[in-house]
Symmetry: D2
């Protein structure tokens, strides 16, 4: 049982009726439902004090999911730093979709994390390019999503430690849509699918990926990481 915290910006759902129709209680509640039978799940949102991410909450978190979009800049530097540090200590981190621009992800990557996009509601196929990876457990050879926002290359991130998915888009683009990294002791999995109006997080295969990724990103015991002057 992994201690999971799901962080959501939670603005679109309250401001935009179309989003509210798909995610009436917020994206975080749908993500929580996808994980709650296997794991110990709590949620946190931008407009809570400290964005819901106090030192105590992060200390008690094994894996943090993150969904942000229109308000990346409203995340305080203090909280972004705290998340960053906890990932280096070993907390797993799963930035989703538009969170490629989330402060903690950009700090962990050290690059611009820019990409191309198009809101066209066309089909995406996430091909499993690494069928031996535990994040692909139980999937078919691809995951198909009938209506998506396109993300296209070049995606300005460091070469992933391991590429699990590459997406094909109906409109003619490709995207490295499932990327594994380690930074410090922390495991990071960027997963592209997700959108505020397409019901991506209701899809069974997407939910399976999220469950697999939580297991994969969970911290291990490790060895001491000593630094400073040595006798």
């Amino acid at each position: 049982m992994v201690a999971v915290t799901i962080w959501n910006e939670f603005r679109h759902e309250r401001e935009d009726e179309a989003v509210g129709a798909v995610y009436p209680n917020g994206i975080h509640e749908v993500l929580a439902a996808a994980l709650a039978d296997a794991h110990d799940v709590r949620t946190a949102t931008l407009d809570e004090p400290h964005h819901g991410l106090t030192a105590e909450v992060l200390e008690a978190t094994d894996v943090l999911l993150w969904w942000g979009h229109e308000a990346h800049d409203e995340v305080s530097d203090a909280v972004a730093d705290r998340v960053h540090r906890r990932v280096l200590e070993g907390m797993g981190f799963l930035p989703l979709h538009s969170s490629h621009y989330a402060k903690p992800f950009v700090r962990l990557m050290g690059t611009s994390c820019s990409l191309q996009y198009r809101e066209d509601g066309a089909t995406e196929r996430l091909w499993v390019v690494d069928p031996g990876h535990p994040i692909a457990d139980g999937l078919d050879e691809f995951v198909e999503l009938p209506e998506t926002e396109m993300y296209g290359e070049p995606f300005d991130v460091p070469e992933p430690d391991r590429q699990v998915f590459v997406s094909w888009f109906e409109g003619g683009e490709v995207f490295r849509s499932g990327c594994c990294y380690r930074r410090g002791n922390g495991r990071i999995f960027y997963f592209r699918p997700g959108h505020e109006t397409y019901p991506i997080y209701h899809d069974a295969a997407v939910r399976r990926v999220l469950r697999n990724a939580v297991e994969w990103a969970s911290p291990t015991e490790g060895a001491p990481r000593t630094f400073g002057e040595r006798a």
Copy 2:
């Protein structure tokens, strides 16, 4: 000026009229023409003695291009071993298209190198996913080929050191179509495009990639590689 040897199976062109129409003097001659103004190019083919790849030829080769398809098994183990050893010594190696199953490539990779394919003559777009790589010098954001044979994931190769291209196919598939590796001192670039009846190697952007890749794969001086008992 790089000493380039282009190896071609050279069977389809002589046996099949449709292929002969596209490559009347063989695929190797078209590849040679793409490189000859910048480099010192020679060719070799399967049906020459030692497949044209004697120890002397390989010793004098900086970068070896390889095109094989229907007769991988007719390449002798002795020649495959010799090519393998020369790559480890530093010779660049550019296996093209169906040469994912070429003996020296399979030995260098250590995996099955299997993939999916479909002969449907549909469009391929090779997206540059690493715009900072010298193999992408002078390209646009993608290379488009109107008629190709599809290759699809999963491609059973080791995770590339660096991924330069990912292909989108009209029929719904993706493929890691430009993969960089180093093995020993040798640089290896697997490049997917190429076919016996589609005129791929007449395409200007494809020819640019081949010229770039020859430069990139050319040996450097390096340091000694000592092994065995040490005093």
Copy 3:
């Protein structure tokens, strides 16, 4: 509980009294004792029919440990191929010490796997360079072995997917002594320590590494790996 098979050449122990004194029932029995309380362990040796590695045995094996030294060439190509294929299918593979020259390891790497060595019985320290890796679980910042055979760089293997240990040797050398790879669906961990006359496999920290590595290398479910013509 992981199904472990420990393969040992088992010649030194029977031919050389000094080796027999350290490993009276063979290196494989000491390795088995290090793993048997946690896992389901069987052993196999070179001089058994099919070297003890029939298709049935390999099919029932999750993780294969391998210790060879003076008789690498006596391993039949058929058995080496079978082991190679099983690793690509997902079986974990842990080549130990002088097994850097074992046939299945050399085939999986695609390089010469050569290195430098010196039999001087001096101290080795295996530094944990990746304290967040599960193979380092429960270790201190280094593992110290008072008497070892030195292995030195350059080690002619592909750049590891992840480097867990780097060794320091009293005599002035370094070595990448714990190297993780994936090939096909299989996880591979090359681990340097081990020798026929130094009692390396009686060391508690080395035994901890082996237990950790068995867990790490154990197969996961994965997704289908389809190849061939696609409709």
Copy 4:
């Protein structure tokens, strides 16, 4: 001919007699002398306006060497950001020795970049673990420095794209002392040797490494890196 800018903190040399004796005109002038016969070299230091790194200077720089130690925090965020952005655009970046804690390097890595150290003036041997890398051109199997400050693992950086050197220290430690990365279009080479009182940058082999690294890190033409909304 590469346009090189050498940045130096230039404080120790003016404040501490022992340092001034080794580097009377500053570390940057000794580094400049090592490169000036092959390249177009300029220098910049912390106490110049904008630390000598205006947008114009950086725009005109192909490769930036960086030496900082006691005043990392005095580098303004504006200049650190500008260097960071220029690396992503393609400028090569060579942080030296204690610059593992330089602001632009830490931002590019996304990790703490912490390590262990000891000022003991003992011997270091930098083993070439990748003899086929152009940064190793013309070296022997190792570079030996008789008096150094020790740096020890774990070094908290992302797994390097390629490891060129691993150091052995007389006192019992190892360190990944030559690490290659790409971030955006920029090539980064962290090189450990260097100190304010040991005459490291007068060593011929160290100077050869620096010249090789400047060549290696020099920008290439590349392909367009488009981002934002796509038609």
